[in-house]
Each structure stands twice: as structure tokens, then as C-alpha cells.
């Protein structure tokens, strides 16, 4: 199974999402690292179907998800609601996923984003194409591209 995209592409996409939406001043960049992937408390994902099948997942700590919602939506950190967090993470997954889709064989379609607590997520029958691990505002963030390895779509809770 040859990989359809490289980690460099994922990095370029992710950095641009950060520069546009989460770190416009350049004062809080996403610092990518080679450290072992750490756990996260919450994840948002989109599924891709069509000529390529898989998922694009963004996972992070609860604190990071709050920062992300605050930065993305322009809501003060202490006023961020659970819905804000879901919607913000979902939109990040959607934008990253949409840009990943542009690299994939055509035609593909994106699902709506879904948000899960990572402890509950299983990703059966997938092969990890690439991932980014890093820290943002001292909190862990990871972005993963997973390809389905069989006809079984193996989605997480929707």
C-alpha cells in the first residue's frame, strides 16, 4: 500500500491552519516534535470516502481544546462552552481534512466532523499514513491521517 501523502504535506497544511486561525500574531506557534505521541483527552475527526477511505484526526488535551475554541471563535477562555469546543475542534478537523482531501486520489468526499473522547475511540482496520505530534501553548496536539485497510469503514462513535 503506497502512501498517498507525505508528512511534509500534513505539516504544511497544519502550520497554515495555525497561522490563519490559532496563532495569527506568530507568538504561539505549534511546535512540532519528534517525541513519542502522547495521549489526549479529546479528538475530532472527519472520514473520507470514495477513491480513498480513511480518517483525519486531530487530538489534544482538554486545555488545548479550550485554547483552540477561544482562539478560533474569539470567545474569552473562561466563557468557552462544551459546544464551542466541539464545534471548534470539528472545524479544525474539517479544514485540515479538506486540505488533505485535495492531495488524495479523486473523487473523495468528506464526512461531517465528529468529536470523541479519545479514551473511547477505536480505529479498527486502519493503517497510519502519517502523523504530527507537537505542543501548542504547552499542551499536546496530534494530527493523524489513517487509511482504511479493508472494506470495513470502522468509524468511531458518531
Amino acid at each position: 500500500m503506497t502512501d498517498v501523502m507525505k508528512v511534509d504535506d500534513l505539516q504544511a497544511i497544519t502550520e497554515q491552519v495555525w497561522q490563519s486561525f490559532l496563532d495569527p500574531e506568530g507568538s504561539d506557534p505549534l511546535l512540532l516534535s519528534l517525541l513519542e505521541p502522547s495521549g489526549g483527552d479529546v479528538a475530532a475527526a472527519i472520514s473520507v470516502t470514495g477513491a480513498w477511505r480513511g480518517h483525519v484526526v486531530i487530538g489534544c488535551s482538554t486545555a488545548a481544546s479550550r485554547h483552540a475554541a477561544s482562539a478560533l471563535l474569539g470567545v474569552p477562555s473562561d466563557e468557552v462552552t462544551e459546544d464551542d469546543i466541539s464545534d471548534a475542534l470539528g472545524e479544525l478537523a474539517n479544514v485540515i481534512g479538506g486540505n488533505v482531501k485535495a492531495l488524495l486520489p479523486e473523487p473523495c468526499a468528506l464526512s461531517l466532523p465528529y468529536v470523541v473522547a479519545t479514551a473511547g475511540v477505536r480505529w479498527p482496520a486502519v493503517h497510519e499514513i502519517c502523523r504530527l505530534d507537537g505542543m501548542w501553548r504547552d499542551e499536546p496536539i496530534h494530527i493523524t491521517v489513517l487509511e482504511s485497510t479493508s472494506d470495513y469503514q470502522g468509524a468511531a462513535a458518531s
Partner: protein
């Protein structure tokens, strides 16, 4: 968190030594914001630490990185828009009218940075030069890193979003991975070379239009004057000079006459200025 005077002055001296560009007082915020990402990438938590590190262990690569971080501009396509409208509506018609029979138009983009300016000029000329005319754009910059990027002509999604009309995007660019690549038709009439404006300029045939935008601001008065003097010699008598929207030759070079339109201005040589209808 803010830089102290010693740190700021060390950075200014470094930049001036390497590029003749002067960062005056009031530019501390620029240094802070441009060097912070470099500091973080180096695993340091502040610009102060980064500077201390660079001072302790001077490494040529770091010097170059610092200079380039401080001397490159955020740039967009058709920057400030109006100069390109002036180019289309007045400059190109005036130049093609003054020389019958058609020939080649020569343009110099004298601080081409990552390439948006020369490619923007090319897009204008592709669409507005009469059939008998061809064009040649000479794109130069101090930074070899910028020149390589400009010559490659590959731009990120974010860069493509800045001021480029969507119809031009689909016409002149192709998607490559997560980026966009300029098409050969635009690329083929542009040459790229490294030029330090603060030094002697290469001997080349004169230009019809020179873009010297947003680069003079980095130089002190004497250097500005000498650059304009040298640039003037490379401008054809009926040629046009474009500066950045906040810049002027006033007080620097009396040989230029400012031509003002509703929203922008450009400069022509007084000696070559014929009584054309105002732009």
C-alpha cells in the same frame, strides 16, 4: 520580554553589516515578532535567549537566518492594487504608443522577494500588451533564499489567498500537493538574479518600468540617494518608476517628477517627461 537597548542595537548592527539595511528606533516590535518564531524553533523561550545564544556562538547560518527574518516583507499579489491599475491603464498604453512597430518591454522588479511582484507584473502584461509586443522581466533581490523561492514559483495556500483574484489563480497556477505552482507561460519571460541595491548595479540595458517598492525604507538617507542615482541610470528616458505607497523621491532626487492619479502615484524622469495627457 521586551528587548533591551543592547540587544536591539546588536541586531541592528548585524543587519546593517550584512545588508546595509537600517532598522531605526521604533522597529523593536518588528525584531521581537520576527525573531520569536526563530527562538521557539531553536527551543528557546525568548528572543533575549536567542540573541544571547547567537552572540555567544556566532554561526554563519544563524546570521543569515536573522537577517532574512528581518528584511523580508509580508507580501501579496498586486500589492496595494492601484499601482498595477496604473500600470495597466496608463503606463503600458503610454509606452506602447511612444514606440511604434512594437518591440520588447523591459521591466525590473528590484526587490522581488518571494516573487509575487514579478509574477503579478507578468499577469498584467500577458493580458494587456498589444500583439506585436513581447516582454522581459528582470527580478532581483538581496536574498538568495528569496530568489530561489521566487524562481521556483511555488506558493502556499495562504500566500495564494493574498490579493490574487480567483480567475487569475485558475488561469496561471496549478495545484501541486498542498501548494500552487506558477505556470510556465508566466515564468518564461522572467529572469532572476541576486543584486544588492546598496552596491554597484550590474550593467544591463535600461528598463521601461522599474519597481522599487518598499525597499528604500530600510536604508538611511545617503544610501537612499545613491540607490536612486544608480537606479535612475537604468531607466529609459520615457520610463516609469514605482515606489511603495508610503515612499517618495521628494528630498532625495530632483530628477524625478511625480505623476499622481486618483489613488496612487509613479515617477518619471523630468528630462524624459513629454507632455502626455495626465494619467
Amino acid at each position: 520580554m521586551a528587548l533591551n537597548a543592547q540587544e536591539f542595537s546588536w541586531v541592528c548592527d548585524l543587519v546593517r553589516r550584512e545588508s546595509a539595511i537600517v532598522l531605526g528606533p521604533g522597529k523593536e516590535y518588528l525584531v521581537e515578532s520576527r525573531l520569536l518564531p526563530l527562538a521557539r524553533k531553536a527551543g528557546l523561550s525568548s528572543v533575549t535567549e536567542y540573541i544571547a545564544d547567537a552572540q555567544r556562538r556566532p554561526v554563519p547560518g544563524t546570521t543569515k537566518t536573522i537577517v532574512e527574518a528581518l528584511t523580508t516583507n509580508e507580501t501579496s499579489w498586486f500589492r496595494d492594487v492601484e499601482p498595477f491599475t496604473l500600470l495597466t491603464d496608463s503606463v503600458v498604453p503610454a509606452l506602447t504608443a511612444s514606440r511604434s512597430g512594437g518591440t520588447s518591454m523591459r521591466i525590473w522588479s528590484a526587490a522581488c522577494s518571494s516573487g509575487q511582484e514579478p509574477y503579478s507584473v507578468a499577469m498584467v502584461l500577458q493580458n494587456h500588451l498589444p500583439g506585436a509586443w513581447s516582454y522581459q522581466i528582470h527580478a532581483t533581490d538581496l536574498s538568495t533564499e528569496m530568489l530561489t523561492r521566487a524562481e521556483t514559483g511555488r506558493f502556499s495556500q495562504l500566500e495564494m489567498n493574498r490579493g490574487l483574484p480567483a480567475p487569475m489563480l485558475v488561469r496561471y497556477f496549478d495545484r501541486v500537493g498542498a501548494d500552487w505552482q506558477v505556470s510556465p507561460v508566466l515564468r518564461q519571460n522572467i529572469t532572476f538574479a541576486q543584486v544588492n541595491l546598496a552596491s554597484a548595479l550590474p550593467a544591463v540595458p535600461p528598463f521601461d518600468v522599474i519597481f522599487l517598492r518598499n525597499v528604500l525604507i530600510y536604508f538611511d538617507m545617503d544610501t537612499k540617494r545613491s540607490i536612486l542615482q544608480r537606479v535612475r541610470k537604468l531607466l529609459r528616458p520615457e520610463g516609469w518608476l514605482f515606489l511603495g505607497s508610503a515612499e517618495t523621491t521628494l528630498g532625495l532626487d530632483g530628477d524625478f517628477e511625480r505623476v499622481v492619479t486618483r489613488k496612487t502615484s509613479a515617477y518619471r524622469l523630468k528630462s524624459g517627461y513629454s507632455a502626455l495627457a495626465s494619467a
